[in-house]
Structure formats: C-alpha cells, structure tokens
Amino acid sequence: MRHSSDQRKSPSHDRLYAPIDTAPTATAAEEDGITATMTHDGENEAPKHRTHADSEQSTATITPQKDDATTLEGHEQRPPLPPRTSLLGDRPTTPLSPRKRPAFQSKPTTAVSSVDIQTLSFPDGSRGTFPTPGSRSVSDAGHGISGGTSTPSSRKVSQNGSEFDDSTSLMSYTPTLRANGDLASLLDEGLNSQSPAWKLLSSQADNVNPFETIDYEDNALLNFDHEFDEVEAVDSKGGNEEQVLLQWKGKLKHYLILSSAGKPIYSRHGDQNLINGYIGIIQTIISFFQDGKDPLMGFTAGDTRFVVAIEGPLYFVAISKLRESDSQLRAQLEALYMQILSTLTLPTLTQLFTNRPNTDLRRPLEGTETLLSSLADSFTKGSPSALLSALECLKIRKSQRHAINNTLLKARTEKLLYGLVVAGGRLVSVIRPKRHSLHPSDLSLIFNMLFEAGSVKAGGGENWIPVCLPGFNKTGYLYMYVSFINAHDGEESSSDQRPSTAGSSPEDEIAILLISTDKESFYELKQMRDDVVAQLERNGSMDIIKTAVRQGRPSTADIVPGTQLRHFLYKSRANVQFMMPSFSPDFSSLLARRKLMSLYHNLHASTHAKHSHVKVLHCVARDSISLVWTTPLFEFYCVAGPNASRAGLAQGANKVIQWVKREEERVFIIGGAVF
C-alpha cells in the first residue's frame, strides 16, 4: 500500500510507452514483478490505449523516410542499454509467464493465463499475430488502479487488453472503426503500403481533432465542469450533510495542509467542519509511519492517489483522481509549501512551531488562502509552466527586448534588486544583478499572486508587497513594487485613471515589478516605474508590448501552416523557459484543456521517471496521437488528432523545432540583462 521511495514503480514508466531503446527480448528477472504489475494495470484501466512497441523498428524511425533523417538520430547513437524486460509482447509467440505476475495482485487466478495467438488481417492483405491472454481480461475489467501504482494510467499500454480481444475480429473486417494510423503503423513499415481505398477512407477523417471523439470509457473527468464549484456549507441542522459530502467527494483533486499536531491549515474544498474528521485520519496515518522512521510517501485507494509530503512541522497531502505521477503531485505540494514560506519565511514558521507545537497556522496565514487556492486550481486545470518548471516569455523581436532591457537598466535606482516587465504571466524583460539569478519557482509564486489570484490587481493602484522568495532566500523578505498597465488602454493607467479590470482578462495585464531588499524604498521604486513607463512610451516599446499581448499566442497553424499538430510544448532546458501555442481553437474549453494537459502529464511522467532513458516516445490513443522528444537541449511534446498520420506528426514536430530554433531569440530571453 505504500512505498518508501518512488523507485518501485518508476522504472516501469518507460516500458509503458514502448521506449525505443528498450532491448525488446531481454528479460531481467528482478524486474519481473514490476513489469507484470504494469501490464496488469494497463489492462484494467485503459484497454483502449496502445503503443507501437510491437514494431520496434517502425517506432524507432518516427521520422518518415522522406524526411531528413537528421532529426531523430540522437537517440540512435546512444550506447545500448542493459537488457530489460519489455512490457509489450516481445514476440508474438512469447507467452507471458506466470512468474511475471505481481505477488500483490488482487486476482491471482485470473492473472495466470495462457496466451492466445490472434491473427489479424489488414486492409492491404497483410497479416499479423498478437499474443493475447485468453481468459483474463474480462474478469479484470472494471477494477480501478491496483495498489502500488501511481503512474499516469489513461494511456497505458495494453496490447493484451480486453477490448483488443473483443474487437479484433471486428476490426479485421471493418477497418474504418479504427483510426488508420493505429493499426496500420503497428505492423507496417510506413504508411505507403496501404491500399488506395484505405487511404481514401483515412483522408476523409484526417481532420479529427484530439479528444473530439466521445470518450465513453473514460469518465474520470465526468465531473470536471464542477471541479471549481464551491462545496456548500453544511447548514446548522445538518440536513444537507450527505449531499455536501457527496459534492466534496466528487472533487477530482484535493489538497490538504495540516500541522504535525493535526491542526488543519488549509483545504482546497470544504469548510472546516467537513474536513476536520479527515484531517484527523490523515494525521493519524502519517504520524503512524513517522514513528517508524519510514515516512509515508503515498498510497492508493481505488482510483485515487494520495501523495504525502512532510516539510518540517507541516504535512502536505495531494489527493488526485487525475492520474498524475507521484513526482508531479509532489512538485505541486512543494509549490504550496513555497507559497507558505513566501508568506511567513522559514525562520518565522519554525519559530511558531518551536514555541508552540500546537500553533494554529491559519491565523498567521490569514488572507493567503486565495493564493494557495489559485495555485491549487492552476494545477487542477493543468499548468504547463508548473509541469515543465519553466517560464514563458512574451514573443517580441530581439532588438525590441533589448530596448526594453536598456530602458530598465537606465532607469535603475540604487535600491533595485530585480526589475521585471511581465505581461499576462509571460516574461517580457528582466534585469538583475550579476551575481543573482531569479529562480523560476519564485517567479511562479509571484505570477500566481499577480495574475491568477485577483487580490493585488483588483485593488487598482500601485502595490507594495513584502514577499519572501524561497528560491532566493527563504529566511527574509523582499519588497515588491507592482503596478499594472492594461494592454487595451490607449494610455498607461496611472493610479488616478486606472479603469476597472472587470472586463479584461489577466492575460491582458502588463505589470511592472520592481523588487528591493529595502522596505523603505517604495517612493524610489515608484519614481523608477514612472521613469520606465514614460521612456517605454516614448521609444515605442510600450506599444510593442501591448500589441504583442493583444495578439496573444500564435496558434499551431500560424507557426506551421497546414500541420496536423494541434498543440505542443517546447521547453528550452538551458533557458528554463518554454514556449507553446494558444490553447484555442481546439483546447479552449476547460475540459479539453485538462485532457490535453493530462496527456502532457503522462508523457512527461514517462520521460522523467527515475531510471527512465526514454528519449523519444510516440503514443497512440483512441482520441489522439502524441510525441515526446527530449534532448539535452530541449523537451518537446506535441499532440495531433487520432487520425493524423505518424509521418504528419513527426513532420510537424520537426517543423516546429526548426521554427523555434529560428525564433529562439524572440521566444526566449537568452542571457538577460545584468548590472
């Protein structure tokens, strides 16, 4: 039920997605249990997803032959890895031996099963064989995640899954039921060997967008529309208790923060009366393991994953049905902890609990619940920035950014530590002292405060905010001057004439942030801000920023016209920055965006699992196809509709990467301005 480390499950991530560098036929005995577990889980939950490990070769050459083969060569030059078990049927005829079944599996009898060989006919007349365990699938269907796993599961490999069993015969006769890319590429070297009729059929459906098809088996996100609704308060008579509890339990994601003494500090959903009992339970469970010097890291109940993080006197718990990996959830908890430090500083926090272990931290934190909640909500919606631990920049020309940097540098006052111009959470310009860099996690906290939580912006005017940036120095406060400029205003909004922010989205807000170590430097920084804004107006930079903000992010089609890609993330590792196109048109709704982000989370988890050496990963699901590609320089994730061809996906990926290379100095801040 628990693991003392992540290692137990993580090695199997790579296998889930049929990594290219897996030695397909080797078996490593000590990993058997793990491998088998994953197989088992995959069947249970996500029979519809499959990858292409069966055809090692075709997976390895994602780039179609006609494309220049340079793009993916990186991974081919890697040294051979030690032998590992492949999760997928290594060879059609290799039976999955009983000893591969996990010891803690819930249904041992069904697990031990022989493998049937099924033959498939393809439209072009070719045939293929697959190992499928005969008896298991049906009896196992309907189970949630079995204990011990927390891997993103919606896209797990399951060539042995029940659905496969049930539908193979159908498929062989009516190929149109499936996406063409799916089966064809499973065995075919390329797509060129398809019959003309097949091509004709597939071309008609080429434009299906990711997640467009109704996903009737995946009801995990059924309640997502209500995820951000407030849970009603239990009324005094308790008449609605049951209903409230139902609402509370219906939430896909919970965050609980409590003190080691069991005092509630924060809960995303539900009022104190509702959660108190659960806080008590979780405190008991965590404390039990604390005593044993073997701290609880996480556990699973049904399809819900609980991840625990302990930071000094504080316990953080993430409860998720969104199938994120443990390390992803842990990073989210870390961000919540950083938010608390940002309010209190570490010495204050420690002192509070040293003096009185029973401290109720809600009072010292009063007023910052909204910051915690907006962090929690952005994780629940899915935040590319949080996932990649990277920042996004506003795309402007290099010379334009240079001009803005210089304006800031020129107007710099003595007390200034950091100076930033930020537009809708995207960095426009930063100036910093030579010896200090800015930590991305600190900036995320600031951006969350300014652009996600409305408290600062709604006040209008200028703000002077004491804030601890834990990445910079977790023991003390810095003082931050903030003023907003609306991108839709004809003129800059000084404190006198700032219009209501009601009509504009946070994306349209431009903020000038000036950070100092001196709490008395407000007027000095205010003067600097006035100088900076006046100068930016004069040299035309302000108009450039406003125009760029109003334009928003380009769509994928703007970047690569005619591409089959629908969305992508590109993270520049060296710059700790990422770039992405707009979520619209395909992912404008909250639900579509969450599905997209879930997919990215899964891809990310597979390539970032401990001991994972996956560099390129191609994932095919019923509702989308996707690709991850990591190199020392970048991480690239992209998605296309289920009927897009793999060649199209790879081609799109190449084009985007070429585009980013070309535009690198526009989409990223490289170097930055120092003084």
Partner: protein
Amino acid sequence: MAARGPAGSRVGNSRFAQFKLVLLGESAVGKSSIVLRFVKDQFDSYRESTIGAAFLTQTISLDENTTVKFEIWDTAGQERYKSLAPMYYRNANCAVVVYDITQASSLDKAKQWVKELQRQANENIIIALAGNKLDLVTEQPDKRAIQTADAEAYAREAGLLFFETSAKTAENVRELFTSIAKKLPLDQAGPRNPRSGGRGGVELRPDTQGTQAGGPCSC
C-alpha cells in the same frame, strides 16, 4: 520613504494641496472597499484580502478654488503586516481607522490603532473613525454589535472624526473624506517633496512643465 509633509501650491486664487492618508483596522472590516468606493466609486462584494499595501490617489474639490489630493495607503489588516504599519503612518497627515459595526472585537482593534497613532504618528495627525458595513444593519438591525452612541462617545473623547459608513451603498464615504480634507491645514502646505519638487500631481497644475517631467533618472 522620504519625509512627505503636506504639499500644495497656490496659483492665482486656486489652492492645491496634497496629503498622505493611511487606512488602518482589523482585517475584513472593509478598508479596501471604502477606498475603492472613494477612488473609483465601485463595490465588489467578494473582495480578496489585500496583500501588503496598496497605494492610490484621489483628488477632491472642496470648493471652486480648493483642490485636495489624497495619497492613500490602503494597508492589509492581518497581524503579520503589523510591523510594517509605522512605515505607512509615518508622516501621514491623516488616518482613517476602520471597524466593522457588526463585529464587536473590531472596535477594540480600532482603539489600539488610534492609541498607536496618537503615540507614534505625526503630532498633528487627523484621525477619523469609520464604522463600516452600515448597509448590513439597515437590512437587519439585530446584526449591529456596536451602538452608534458608544462609538461616537469614544470618538469624541479621543478627538476623532466619526462616521458610520457603507462602502456598498456609498453612504457617508465621500463625506468622510471631505470632512477630513476640511480639517487639514490647507494654508500651511509647503513644497511637497524637496527632492522631486516638480513632479507628482503634475496634471493638476495649470502651469506645469508638461508631462515629460519624468525623464530618465540621472543614476
């Protein structure tokens, strides 16, 4: 934060003066709402807590010839920001101490603030006591926790201006600031800030040197 006394100028018959005002009081009594009503004539029932402090300005005309500009520090009411308060009330010409007429404890907190101001702030500081959320008791009189007479008696005793206000309905908000402005020593207004004498409030003066005052800093 350099010394910033009352500032003002006289052009022909018209007077212009600028004053620093600070709002203090327990959290959630409605300080920001009062400011929002005064500055933008807006109200937002689901306001999030102020983080740190907000700096706003608003100009009012007392009569045809007299214009008063308030530089307002809207502070956060939470305990953890308490140590920063002196920075905001130092050199303030006036203060509004706010309590919530439906919360008895908030008046106690207000009294503490008044005491602190009278001990630590400018000697001549003008303090106004504002009992906010008047709209709540208009609807439901039994919600009132602090009687007007009690608060008024205290205010008289301590030498404070006193108003019961509603940021929601705007009742008495403008009156509060106007009566503060009337009590301020308009005629002694000297140069606002020796360092940046020509700047700030530029747009309000007829004979200003133009909006380009804020050129690049010399440093």
